[in-house]
């Protein structure tokens, strides 16, 4: 039981990171119907920005330092996301969807290999800003302060996102655009601007995920975004792509499933089991857990 609870905590912390990345995938998919393959690499840039920003702080600066690093990373990633949208995706707005997908893959490769040139291919170690120590100990279950921090920051960001999407004008416009581009234009919504803000917000979340992962797994390198990016995408599909609560649910499920598989089965099968779960869920619910089944009209 202790072991189970411990893995549950680890899975929740890991799932928060997947959920943050999955949110970006799902938001972009919602407004553009595009699988933004470069999103995992934006997360890598977030971790790298965090690494360079952290080096300008004294290790003892603690919480304040972390807040500044998180902010820097989120701003850099938001700008990068908007830049990618402007340069690579905007010219392809009217093109077939697959063309945009290939461009997304191109951007992803560009960030990976450009990252190798810029940062060097060797792994870097995220400076330890906050000392990792047990915060809560209960019947052998240890919850570290970093885990608490990761879960708290992610939840905070998710609540902020929920507020933006549900209660602001931009959020309302986003929901309208994801419903229909043409109809949104008719009611005077600037679709281009909405898409840009979607990329800004989604990429900022990926940047935050990059810093948070740096806190718990300090080893970062330019190709670190590929697998988490892929799995976060799977998580988004799992929850029903284009659906924000679905992305959260998918992210947490993915994190929990991976942690439990590693703990109780074998770590070599970890990557495959994530996909087995995915396929099983899709076979039972083809539109994802929270996705709406759209009836086709002839």
């Amino acid at each position: 039981m202790t072991e189970f609870l411990q893995q549950l905590v680890n899975g929740l912390a890991w799932g928060s990171i997947y959920a943050l990345i999955a949110l970006g995938y799902t938001m972009v998919y919602g407004v553009l119907r595009l699988i933004n393959f470069a999103h995992g690499d934006v997360y890598m840039i977030g971790a790298m920005t965090g690494y360079y920003a952290a080096h300008s702080f004294h290790p003892s600066s603690g919480g304040l330092g972390l807040a500044v690093i998180l902010g820097t990373s989120m701003v850099v990633c938001a700008l990068l996301g908007a830049l990618i949208e402007r340069v690579a995706y905007k010219p392809l707005r009217e093109a077939p969807r697959l063309a945009a997908l290939i461009t997304a893959i191109g951007v992803s490769l560009f960030l990976q290999f450009g990252g190798q040139l810029l940062f060097g291919a060797d792994p870097k170690f995220f400076p330890q800003l906050i000392e990792n120590r047990p915060l809560i100990q209960w019947k052998g279950v240890v919850i570290t302060n970093i885990q608490v921090l990761i879960i708290a920051i992610s939840l905070g960001l998710m609540i902020a996102l929920r507020f933006i999407v549900m209660n602001t004008k931009t959020g309302k416009a986003m929901r309208a655009v994801s419903f229909s581009h043409t109809a949104s234009q008719f009611v005077g919504i600037n679709v281009g601007a909405v898409i840009r803000s979607t990329f800004l917000i989604g990429s900022a979340l990926a940047g935050a995920a990059g810093v948070l992962v740096g806190l718990s797994n300090p080893k970062i390198e330019p190709l670190m975004g590929i697998l988490p990016g892929l799995k976060a995408f799977v998580a988004a599909v799992l929850g029903g792509i284009g659906n924000i609560p679905g992305a959260l649910l998918g992210g947490y499920l993915m994190g929990l499933a991976e942690t439990f598989v590693t703990a109780y089965l074998s770590s070599t099968y970890r990557d495959a089991l994530a996909f087995v779960i995915l396929i099983l869920i899709l076979l039972i619910k083809p539109a994802g857990l929270l996705g709406k089944v759209v009836k086709e009209k002839v």
Binding site: P91, A99, I102, G114, V237, T268, A272, L283
Partner: protein, 320 residues
């Protein structure tokens, strides 16, 4: 009758040409260039077979490397473990012939194994569409890779070495020729028109009496079979297999060929397979900038010509 003879002459001419070129490439040309030309042939098989699934039938599959892996490991397992047993049974034919027959047999075995996997992957396509299908095929591809990684008799994480070098220019282009011929003939047949109809509008296709799900499974199985053959040729060309050659990136590489060439254009797939195999090699002078240029070229090409090089047109020779 006259047409039949004409066709026989044409095919024997092509075989003779391949055989002659095989001699030139194995004996006269720099091995590095021969290797690239051989890899182009394998990539043509992979791109044309994926085009059947993605371009002609309109099903979005991103797990092609998985089928390729099954074919590669399946046929390599036959040639490595069966060499002594099966070859001994083929003593009644001359040795040189026996190895060739054995090699073709192993390729077909790999292809059929991959086709079986294609059948298994094809069945969920009855329920899934678009991006959900894409992610399911991606998942299958990764599952296959992880399973192979954990199979000890094909080397597991150490890689699978000691595969006899049976593939050469002749066999690679022979199978590339067969693939292109078969797919281009298929597309002009009634069944092929059915595949195109499913791509254009599944509901309309069903309403005129086509069985869309059966056609989709057929496309998956056939595409996977040729991918398996391509994988088998790859195994017997490189002579060493590791699951790292069959990751998600390999699937992406094949998709890029299909999309860049033009969805549904066989000519386009062939051209793009050649171009994208040569491009990374040509960029070798750029050292560490190589992949950055590759990525940039990909983005620029897609922005300038989103419908692909050939759009959905074909060279006259492929549509008789």
């Amino acid at each position: 009758m006259k047409r039949f003879f004409f066709r026989i002459i044409k095919i024997s001419f092509i075989l003779a040409l391949l055989y002659g070129l095989n001699f030139v490439f194995t004996k006269q040309v720099n091995p590095y260039i021969t290797q690239i030309i051989n890899l182009i042939g394998i990539n043509i098989i992979l791109a044309v077979s994926l085009n059947l699934i993605n371009g002609h039938t309109g099903q979005f599959s991103i797990g092609h490397a998985g089928f390729m892996a099954i074919g590669a490991y399946g046929s390599a397992a036959v040639t490595v473990y069966g060499q002594n047993i099966i070859l001994a049974k083929l003593l009644f034919v001359p040795m040189a012939w026996a190895t060739q027959i054995f090699f073709i047999g192993s390729l077909l075995f790999g292809g059929l194994l991959a086709a079986l996997a294609g059948l298994i992957v094809g069945i969920p396509t009855l329920r899934l569409r678009g991006d959900y299908l894409a992610i399911a095929t991606l998942g299958f591809g990764e599952i296959i890779r992880v399973i192979v990684l954990n199979l000890d008799f094909v080397g597991g994480a150490r890689g699978f070495g000691g595969i006899p070098e049976f593939a050469n220019f002749f066999w690679i282009y022979f199978f590339a020729f067969i693939t292109v011929l078969w797919v281009s003939r298929l597309i002009q047949s009634t069944k092929g028109k059915g595949l195109l109809a499913v791509r254009e509008d599944e509901i309309a296709a069903e309403s005129i009496g086509l069985q869309a799900s059966r056609l989709k499974v057929f496309a998956f199985t056939a595409g996977a079979f040729f991918a398996g053959i391509g994988g088998g040729l790859f195994a017997h060309l490189i002579t060493y297999l590791h699951t790292n050659s069959f990751t998600f990136l390999k699937s992406i590489e094949i998709i890029v060929m299909v999309v860049l060439g033009g969805m549904g254009s066989i000519t386009g797939s062939i051209l793009a397979a050649a171009a994208l195999t040569v491009l990374p090699e040509a960029l070798r002078v750029a050292n560490e900038w190589r992949m950055v240029f590759y990525a940039l070229l990909l983005i620029i090409m897609m922005i300038l010509r989103p419908q692909g090089l050939m759009a959905d047109r074909e060279l006259r020779i492929l549509k008789r």
